[in-house]
């Protein structure tokens, strides 16, 4: 199946300082792809490039097979209107809930009746029925983020970019909304790219995870692959592994490796040769 988004040699630099350098990236239809990384890893920059809000310094962005890296003018607007982005803060405009949700449809100049119908549907989908006329200044944090989701979904994007949209919410509200949003995306078959610095959120939301550090993808795979087989100490620590030690392989036979760590022998299922220096991460299983 043709990817929704594909990039190659994508780079972004500000004042000569490279903040993003992604060799190759593919977003498949219907998947939730999560970029996991610390602050300053380049996650938000990547989303702004993919959403065509900023041009890349170099490299190619393909959207459904079309090179959109430097697309501009009315065609650029046309392409940008097929995608949408949600930020960490709800960034609601100072108007009612209903008018906020209608914004994207208004700028597309859709007929009033259709706007009304789609706004009502979006509000119902996000559990906001009855709040149509409410001033956004009076909403709780959770409600405000729901309005932001309704405002993004109502335009029926082909891909949605999410920049840590749950990070400012309380734990319980965050959990509930994560689960609801994932269900909505899966039900609609909506493709999404989600960035977060929270490894638990990445595991909960993502079909695939790409770990980003200092602008580069340092590991990619399913949540299971990334969490169970981190390929570097950085990734191991970032996905919550706290017990990390240096050791030496003493024997290796049939995929079972014995490693000495501080004089203790640990058996690990992996491929390594005897005498090789390795890093061992231990995770407590509950």
């Amino acid at each position: 199946m043709e990817p929704i988004v594909e990039t190659s040699q994508l780079k972004k630099a500000y004042d000569g300082r490279v903040v993003l350098d992604v060799e190759h990236l593919v977003v498949d239809p219907g998947e939730i792809l999560v970029f996991l990384g610390p602050s300053g890893a380049g996650k938000s920059v990547l989303l702004r490039l993919l959403n065509l809000l900023e041009p890349p310094t170099s490299g190619e962005i393909m959207f459904k097979g079309e090179d959109v890296s430097s697309v501009s003018g009315s065609h650029g607007l046309e392409v940008r209107r097929r995608m949408v982005m949600l930020f960490q803060d709800p960034l609601l405009f100072k108007m009612s809930v209903e008018k906020n949700v209608a914004f994207g449809l208004g700028v597309r100049r859709l007929p009033q009746q259709e706007i009304k119908r789609r706004v009502d549907e979006a509000l119902e989908l996000l559990g906001l029925t009855g709040l149509n006329a409410k001033d956004v200044a009076t909403l709780s944090g959770g409600e405000a983020q729901r309005v932001a989701f309704a405002r993004a979904l109502v335009v029926e994007p082909e891909i949605i970019y999410l920049d840590e949209p749950f990070s400012d919410l309380d734990f319980l509200i965050r959990r509930r909304l994560q689960s609801e949003v994932r269900d909505i995306f899966k039900e609609k078959g909506l493709t999404s790219v989600f960035v977060t610095h929270d490894h638990e959120e990445a595991a909960r939301m993502g079909d695939r995870i790409m770990v980003l550090n200092e602008g580069k993808i340092v590991q990619a795979g399913t949540p299971k692959q990334v969490f169970q087989k981190p390929e570097s100490e950085f990734v191991a620590r970032f996905v919550g592994m706290e017990n990390i030690y240096g050791g030496t392989v003493v024997s290796s036979e049939g995929g079972l490796v014995e490693v000495t760590v501080d004089g203790e022998i640990i058996e690990v299922v992996t491929d390594s040769c005897a005498g090789e220096a390795v890093t061992v991460g231990l995770r407590l299983r509950t």
Binding site: R80, M83, V84, F87, F93, V101, A102, V107
Partner: protein, 243 residues
């Protein structure tokens, strides 16, 4: 003390007696300052938006000039405009000196930088991600700027209030280019100066009170808009198509 109290009484009488000379001066003040503020707003708001939202060569230089002009001594503007509009000046053939048009010109020169500078500051105060969010939702660049303008409306109205306040209270420049000619270019502030010079302190203070009342009425209207009544046409229409 009695002069001050009598001045309030005089101010009341000035209003209720409908003296045509007084009302001519009052209306000319309103018209000159009103037109000056409107033109200053038409120039100042787009200029402030341009300086806050777009990058171009010379932007910083223009911004410094605008900020400097915000504190420009009105008499300097008056003298400069006088020299340009005077019979022997480069625009002397237009016969604008000592006319209300000349007074409007100096008021525009005074109001526009104030409105532009405060518009720039207000726009810079809006979260820049709001513009990005609007564009991400499908807005064009201009539509996203209109969204930010709407968000900055309290600051924009404050800019207009400051611009109007600056010109309605102005005396030096309008005196120089208007000449304080009775029935033609005499406005409240220049008449107050005249009455003070002639020793009519009570009348001067009474006119000052009326001027203050006028400013209060206009500011009440503008503040009401600032607090939520204002609607910036297109931004609102775009957002309200779902009504």
């Amino acid at each position: 003390m009695s002069t001050i109290l009598n001045a309030f009484k005089e101010a009341f009488l000035l209003i209720v007696r409908f003296n045509p000379d007084f009302y001519r001066v009052l209306f000319l003040s309103l018209i000159v300052s009103g037109i000056g503020t409107v033109i200053g707003t038409v120039i100042g708001i787009p200029l402030g938006v341009l300086l806050s939202e777009y990058s171009f060569t010379g932007r910083s230089v223009i911004l410094v000039i605008v900020h400097t002009f915000m504190g420009l001594p009105p008499v300097v503007v008056g003298v400069f405009t006088f020299l340009v509009l005077a019979r022997s000046g480069p625009l002397g053939s237009m016969n604008l000196i000592y006319t209300p048009t000349a007074m409007v010109i100096v008021q525009v020169i005074l109001a526009a930088p104030i409105i532009a500078g405060l518009t720039h500051a207000s726009m810079r105060g809006v979260d820049p991600r709001l513009g990005l969010q609007a564009r991400s939702l499908g807005a064009t660049r201009i539509q996203s700027v209109l969204v930010k303008l709407r968000e900055a409306r309290a600051g924009l109205v404050a800019a207009v209030i400051a611009g109007f306040g600056g010109v309605i209270s102005e005396v030096g420049a309008v005196m120089i280019v208007g000449g304080n000619i009775k029935g033609s270019t005499r406005v409240m502030t220049t008449d107050i100066v005249l009455q003070t010079r002639q020793g009519n302190y009570q009348l001067a203070l009474a006119e000052g009170i009326v001027l203050l009342l006028l400013a209060i009425v206009i500011n009440v209207i503008l503040t009401r808009y600032q607090e939520g009544g204002i609607r910036i046409g297109l931004a609102r229409r775009l957002a309200m198509r779902g009504d």
